[in-house]
Structures are given as C-alpha cells and as structure tokens.
Symmetry: C2
Subunit: 296 residues, 2 copies
DNA sequence: TTGTAAGCGTTATCAT
DNA sequence: ATGATAACGCTTACAA
C-alpha cells in the first residue's frame, strides 16, 4: 500500500503498451522540406503549439524537397502508427499515396491550394499569388518582368507562382523576360545571384518577382549598394512577408504567406477528424494578401 | 507463399510492439523554447538532419521559455521511452532533473556552456559573449553602454550575456547605463521598443548590445530612419548572425551563434552514448566569434 | 462497481 | 539454424 503510493509517485506509463493495446498513438507526423526555411519552421511552430495543447506529440521529418526522401519518411513514420500526417505540397510518389491511403490515417497536405489533395488540404493558391504580383507590375505599366525561384523539378509551388505570373502577363501579350532557377535550399545570399542572372539575361529588366522574401531582401539591399534605384529602375516583389520586409528601405512589397493559419488549420483538421467532428475530404484555400509597399 | 510475398509487400512493422519488446524506441525528444526563434529552428534542423540519417525519429516540444511547461513536456515525452533527450539551457525544475535522472535516458543540455549540466552539454559561454562585446565597445572608447534582452526570470542565457557585459565594464569602473527587459517571445519589432526604452533611460547612450540580431536589425534600421548615425552616434551589436546581418547598411556587428555545430554535436552526443562509443558526462564548449562589422 | 483474462505485434529466450 | 513460447505493459471486453 505504501509501496503502491511510492510506485504511484514515480509511475510513468509506457505509451508503447498503450499504443499497442489501444491503437491510438497520439502522434502526428509532420513532413516539411526543411526547418531552416522560415515559412516551414513557423508553420510547424503553430502545428506543435496546437497539438501540444491536446497532448499529441509531433514527430518531424525533412523531405529536403525530394519526393523520394519524403516517401522514405512516410514509410518510416507509418511504423509509429501516427494518428495523422501533415505533408507539404501535393506532389508525392505513387507509393507515398498508396501507403498513406492503405493506412487510413488522416492526411493534410499544406501550402498548395491549386491541386487536388489525397485527403484534406490547407493552403493557398500559388498560381493566384503569381497573378496578383503580375497584376501589380502591370498596373505600374511595367513590361519587362522576370522571375527568380527554385528549380522547377524541385519547387512545385514556386512553379505555380511562375505560371500565375506568366498567365497574367500573357493576357497583355507579354512573356517573362527571364526565369531563373536556383537549386534548393536557397540561402538568402542567392538573391544576389538571382539578381545578377536576371540582369545578365536582360539588362533592361524592370521588375523581378522573387519566390521568397529572403532572396528579395538580399537582392534589394544589393541594389541599394549598387545605386540601382528601387523601384524606379527595378521593381522588386517578394513572397512571404518575413521579418524586416517592412523595415528595410525601401520597404518590400510582398505576398503575405499565412503560415500561422496554415499550421493551425492543418492541426485542427487532423484533430477534427480524430474527434469525429469532421469526416471526408476537405479543402481549405486561404485568400492571399499582396502587401503593396515601396519596392514595387 | 505467394500470399506471404504479397503480405510482405505491404508489411509495415509496428514500432509500438518493437519498443515494448526491445525497449529501444529510436526516438529522441527535443525541447526548445520555440520554433519561431531562428536559432532554435536552425538547431533543430541539424538535429533532425543528423538523427534522420540514423533512422531516429525526433519528437519536438515547445517550453515557451517556461520551466514548468518544460517539465510537463518531459513527463509526457518520458512515456514514449525516448532513447535521448535534448534540452535547451541548464535551468530546469527539480522534478525535471529527478525524472530524467531516474529514467536513465541520455540527456544533452544545449546553448549554455556556463553552468553545470546534469548529464552531457553542448553549448558556448553566454557570459563570454557579453564580455567580448563589452571589450569591443571599450576598445572604441565607449562608456555609456546599454543592454536589451529578455526578461531575467525567463531568459537565463540572456542574463549570462548581461553579466559578462557588466563584468567587463566593471573592470573599467563602469556600469551599464540601462538594462531593458522584454517579455519573451520577442518579435523583431521589439528592437525598436528596446531602443526607445534605452534612450528614454539615458539619451546619451553610446552603445547597445541586443540579445538577438532580430532586435538589433530592427533597431538599426529604425536609427537609419531617424537619422541617428550608426555607429558614430550609437553603436549597435547583435547576437546570432542571422540572415541579412551583413547585408544591411551599416552591416551589423554581432556574435556568431554556432547553432549548426550545437545541433550536430548534441545529436552526436546522444548517438555516441547509445552506440556505447562514449560514456559518462561530457561538456563541449564551442568558442564564440565576434564578427566586427560596421555597426559597432 | 471491481476484478480477471485475453490480446495487441514484436523481441528474446530457450529448446530442439 | 530453426521454431515454439514467454514476456513487454497496457486496454478492453467480459464476468462476477
């Protein structure tokens, strides 16, 4: 009895046994391209925040922008019998889809509102983002417009933004003067390389849409250094609305990425499915906001 | 036989059963204050990278800069019988220490090379960082020096930097003219608030050491905006060496935080213990580098 | 209500 | 080597 109480004091239940007996792991697996990209780190932050509250554990994996690595992670995580999966994007190997489907685990795909998801999805339209930026450039009367983003085989969401940009330009009979593809992951400094490659392709470029604020900010600061006036000589638009986007001079025009909302809604989608509050597939597309500031 | 092969094809082992039978979870639990702070997100990135390679899963939790929340996470994670724990800092509740000690799990405490760790530690001396910055300011002949950091009950590593700064100043018979304590987490914009509070306390302040580059950068950009010349009228030093620290004008003098090294070494410390390659406690203190740039 | 026993899917042990 | 069997520590269904 006393022994009972003492044992009680230090008693730590073994979740492996619980999982085995109840087949509920209270684990949610999250796979993102990389934690070193702000947008995904922020998303995961909010996923963890929401799930911790409900005493779910989050296990995390890096796909490194590779479908095959993502697949390996899915296989490995599946062994843990997670109660939910949160993936990035809608591009996956067939085996990934099949494994996930067979497992019956709730799956949320994030950051891609353009394509059909296998189960649930929470994201925004990258295509629309590209359109909006093109619209802004066009409203300023600009015609020589370039794009800098990740390599097209790697960065599908960046592709969609480029497509949106192109589509809007096409309406005015225009095509992008340059499309620069950088290998992922892209450190901030790559913005300068992107800038250089754009200018090498077309020295008369009037505007650049960068696929990430980190790139845009470093390019913008480089323009300042070179005495290239922004936006008069070169308009710059970013994507993400990261720290300092509005603090640098000139302030960065950019598309605000709702990473907090994505994270929270993705976590809630899993929880709702587990609670039985929601069933069946769902698709949440969050409207995007273009923040018109000084750089474009 | 054919059935065997087919079953084989879709066979997914159940790790709960494996853990129960073998008492090896292949899980490492990582607790950081918050994923929204770059330095921790980066650290975790490298931890995950290293551990994924060895097919360990990482479960992650946010202490939110609270010891009691950290304790709750430890209790909860302990149920999963992780093969290792990576914590942030050396400040923990007694129960946290006791639970961890009783569990026998390898523990690495990170980012604090100043204090004794319960098991293993990988970090750097925050005290030394403060000293180095003070040394720099003094070498420029500055005397009216202020500090901006997190609230002292929350941010123990920031405290150590302040102590180091103070200690060096004391050698010259000086004391900081202001110490501003901000509530964590500190969004970048808080740098401006910190700047304002410093100047309200002592308008003649000559130098400020910010406990994070985010704060320093936003303060520096605000100085530019106000026409306050950096470093002539106000020297600014940051901590972290984040993106853009060297790209803004004037470039930010800062202490480089070796988050990659911390992450890699912390993960390796756990692995070495599990492999039997290393035993007993260890303490790795990574030397710090002060990057002298234009702002101080 | 309280208690007992079966079963979850592995690993590990011990015979064969 | 190969195969049967006992844990592992919980949940749950069923009895009492």
């Amino acid at each position: 009895m006393v022994e009972e109480a003492i044992r009680e004091l230090n008693y730590i239940p073994n979740s492996a046994a619980r999982i085995l007996a109840s087949s509920a792991s209270h684990i949610v697996a999250v796979i993102i391209p990389s934690l070193s990209a702000t947008v995904y780190a922020q998303e995961v932050h909010h996923i963890v925040r929401v799930l911790e509250e409900r005493s779910f554990s989050v296990v995390i994996g890096h796909s490194d922008y590779s479908e095959i690595r993502e697949q390996r992670l899915v296989q490995s995580f599946l062994e843990r019998r997670p109660d939910g999966f949160i993936l990035t994007g809608t591009q996956h190997t067939d085996l990934t889809r099949q494994l996930l489907k067979n497992s019956g685990v709730p799956v949320v795909e994030t950051f891609d509102g353009d394509n059909a998801a296998m189960d649930m999805s929470v994201g925004f339209s990258n295509f629309e983002a590209g359109r909006k930026v093109a619209e802004l450039f066009r409203s300023r009367g600009l015609t020589r417009i370039a794009y800098v983003g990740g390599r097209s085989e790697q960065d599908f969401r960046s592709n969609a933004r480029f497509e949106g940009l192109s589509a809007r330009l096409a309406e005015d009979g225009l095509t992008p003067v340059a499309r620069i593809e950088l290998t992922l992951p892209m450190p901030a400094g790559d913005g300068v390389r992107g800038l250089d490659r754009v200018l090498a392709t077309d020295p008369l470029t009037q505007a650049i849409f960068f696929s990430a604020d980190t790139l845009a900010i470093s390019a913008l600061l480089e323009c300042n250094r070179r005495g290239l006036r922004v936006p008069e000589q070169l308009a710059i638009c970013g994507f993400g609305n990261y720290d300092f986007a509005d603090a640098i001079v000139p302030s960065l025009t950019t598309v605000a990425v709702p990473f907090e909302e994505v994270g929270v809604l993705a976590a809630n989608a899993i929880l709702a499915r587990l609670d039985g509050t929601a069933q069946g597939s769902s698709r949440k597309v969050i409207p995007l906001q273009l923040l018109r500031r000084a750089s474009a």
